[in-house]
């Protein structure tokens, strides 16, 4: 039996837009074990991003429980949530979300700055992370000087800066061509297989989902399917 790193019980998220209330998540239950490689699929608007944002402690659910490593996230203060985002979770966005006019290196250093890591160690680690994603020679480039695939690799390097256990990626290949998409997915696979990271990826492309071990399918705020594509192997 592996460690339950994420456990969600009866989670509901209702967006109140004034006239209408949208239930983006409808009393979801979900358990994720440490070291899993998961993809979340479903039509646009089915609640995938809503779930990811809550998992990433960027948003709070309307009701229900979210236990991260056994601790109820709802109980945490804003500063504690900041620390969780900083240390425990690496978030990768579809739109990269690099800070403009800030070099790749500085972007990767950011989580370490907020994690109070010394300047020297920070730079050293950022360079190594960039090297690991194949961008050693691009460290001083600005985001607007990088291709989509390169931007996403910088974003992944940044997500890994403080060695988080959990990697959350919301449609990381959504803005990329198929070649870059495969490269990005290979990085995630490596992280999961070699580093033992728990990786959760949102995608609506079947062949991207195929990289993962478990596919969870959403529809209208509900999980309609949760299947293992292959044996959950090593760990």
């Amino acid at each position: 039996m592996t460690h339950e790193i994420i456990k969600i019980e009866g989670m509901t998220k209702v967006y109140d837009t004034g006239e209408i209330q949208v239930a983006a998540l409808n009393s979801i239950d979900l358990t994720i074990h440490k070291g899993e490689f998961i993809s979340i699929m479903g039509a646009s608007g089915s609640g995938k991003s809503t779930l990811m944002n809550i998992l990433g402690c960027l948003d709070r659910p309307t009701s229900g429980h979210y236990y991260l490593e056994g601790v109820d996230v709802m109980e945490k203060s804003d500063n504690e949530l900041s620390a969780v985002r900083n240390k425990k979770i690496g978030f990768v966005f579809q739109s990269f979300n690099l800070i403009s006019r800030t070099s790749a290196l500085k972007n990767v250093e950011l989580p370490m700055i907020y994690g109070k890591i010394g300047a020297e160690e920070r730079k050293e680690r950022a360079l190594e992370l960039l090297k690991n994603v194949g961008l050693a020679d691009r460290s001083h480039h600005m985001p607007n000087e990088l291709s989509g695939g390169q931007k996403q690799r910088v974003a992944i390097a940044r997500a890994l800066a403080n060695k988080p256990q959990i990697i959350l990626a919301d449609e990381p290949t959504g803005n990329l061509d198929s070649q870059s998409s495969v490269e990005i997915m290979e990085i995630f696979t490596q992280l999961n297989r070699k580093e033992g990271n728990t990786v959760i990826i949102v995608t609506h492309e079947r062949d991207i989902a195929e990289f993962t071990d478990r596919i969870i399918t959403f529809k209208d705020g509900n999980i309609i399917r949760d299947e293992y594509t292959r044996e959950v192997g090593q760990c």
Partner: protein
């Protein structure tokens, strides 16, 4: 805290928006430079006043009745008689070095076809010794025998000699003047010069200054409304003045404060006080422009927070805490304001220097003022940056990330 990182961040943000940053600073620059310029000009003027007073002797003093206490003008008995002066000198032999009734007269004169007007001051024998900035160019100053004999002599200023006699050395020439309704021919015994002073331009006078032995100006028994003294300069002038008027009031059988004194020192204090108040008042007005500058900073910081909403969301998603964001924006507004303060200080000093060089006055810049100005502008930046920074810090991470 991430102070160093935030400073670097702020500098990058300022650099990447040079024109906007400069315009934002402009309010602070104008405010600080005017405060600095005005206070430096004030301080410089004070320095000049001090030198000016020193040049004609800080131990100069006048005693006279307090006009406010004399009900219907000065009465005969209020005037200071030669006996009173002798009594004062006898009572304070150590402290009164020179005492002469304060008498003066104005008269038109004509030398050949050149007309002129003299403003004559009656002086005693040693006047030249006490009036420190007076230098005799030709001849001599009024001396003992001129005073003792009430001789018809006059010492004129260089300008008068040049204009009336067309030469600097006018010793031996004669000047006809009217004194107390009587025509008198005065022999020029000396020509003097005083270095040009700040007051020349302030009290532009059409007449020439001159010194004559005081006895030729006095009327009647020699009483005058005031007495001019030179005192022991090693003593506290205010204390001496108080003793003198107390004694004078007593021997004249008047109320203790009937006579009052005015010393060069007390005049200087008064002028300095006026200058100080003046520059404080103008400085306060200039300080208002600092507030306006602060509002400009607040405005731009609010724009900047809105523009950078997404960046704030990204930072929060990466683990920035509320305080980290607060500090980032606060430090940015403080740095903008402090840079404005430094530029403003430089500009203010330059304005003061240029202004003073026109007035041929050495600039006095109080380092305290500079420290205060830069510090104050940083505080302005902090104060007006607080609201935008709090607005940024309180943004919800997911809403900030969604911001388009």
């Amino acid at each position: 805290m991430l102070v160093f990182e935030n400073i670097m961040l702020a500098l990058t943000a300022i650099k990447s928006n040079k024109m906007r940053s400069f315009l934002t600073m402009l309010g602070i620059i104008i405010g600080i430079s005017s405060v600095i310029a005005i206070t430096s000009i004030g301080d410089s003027a004070k320095g000049v006043v001090g030198k000016e007073f020193e040049s004609f002797g800080m131990n100069n003093m006048y005693l006279y009745p307090n006009w406010e206490l004399t009900q219907d003008g000065v009465e005969e008995s209020d005037l200071i008689t030669p006996e009173d002066i002798e009594a004062l000198k006898a009572r304070f032999p150590e402290d009164i070095l020179y005492a002469v009734p304060n008498v003066s007269a104005n008269s038109d004169t004509k030398v050949g076809r050149v007309e002129g007007k003299f403003s004559m001051t009656g002086v005693g024998a040693d006047y030249g010794k006490f009036k420190k900035n007076l230098s005799i160019l030709h001849g001599r100053m009024i001396n003992k025998s001129d005073v003792a004999g009430g001789k018809d002599t006059i010492v004129i200023e260089k300008k008068a000699a040049m204009n009336l006699f067309n030469k600097e050395n006018a010793v031996g020439e004669t000047i006809s003047v009217v004194i107390n309704g009587e025509m008198k021919d005065l022999t020029v015994v000396g020509v003097y010069e005083v270095p040009s002073s700040l007051f020349d331009s302030m009290f532009m006078s059409q007449s020439y200054s001159a010194y004559v032995p005081y006895p030729i100006l006095v009327v009647g028994d020699g009483s005058a409304w005031a007495v001019e003294l030179y005192t022991n300069e090693k003593k506290d002038q205010a204390a001496l003045g108080n003793e003198f008027v107390k004694y004078l009031s007593r021997i004249k059988d008047k109320a203790p404060n009937f006579y009052i004194f005015e010393s060069a020192e007390s005049q200087m204090t008064t002028i300095n006080k006026v200058l100080g108040t003046l520059s404080l008042a103008i400085g306060a007005i200039a300080a208002i422009s600092l507030v306006v500058g602060g509002i400009g900073i607040m405005n731009i910081m609010l724009v900047s927070v809105t523009e950078r909403t997404r960046e704030i969301g990204i930072r929060k998603s990466l683990g920035a805490r509320t305080n980290d964001i607060l500090m980032q924006f606060l430090i940015e507004s403080m740095i903008i304001s402090a840079i404005g303060g430094v530029i403003g200080t430089t500009l203010g000093v330059a304005i003061a220097a240029v202004g003073m060089s026109f007035a041929k006055i050495a600039v006095v810049i109080d380092p305290k003022v500079i420290v205060l100005a830069v510090g104050f502008s940083a505080i302005v930046g902090m104060f007006f940056g607080l609201y935008p920074a709090r607005k940024a810090a309180k943004l919800d991470p997911i809403e900030a990330l969604r911001y388009e």
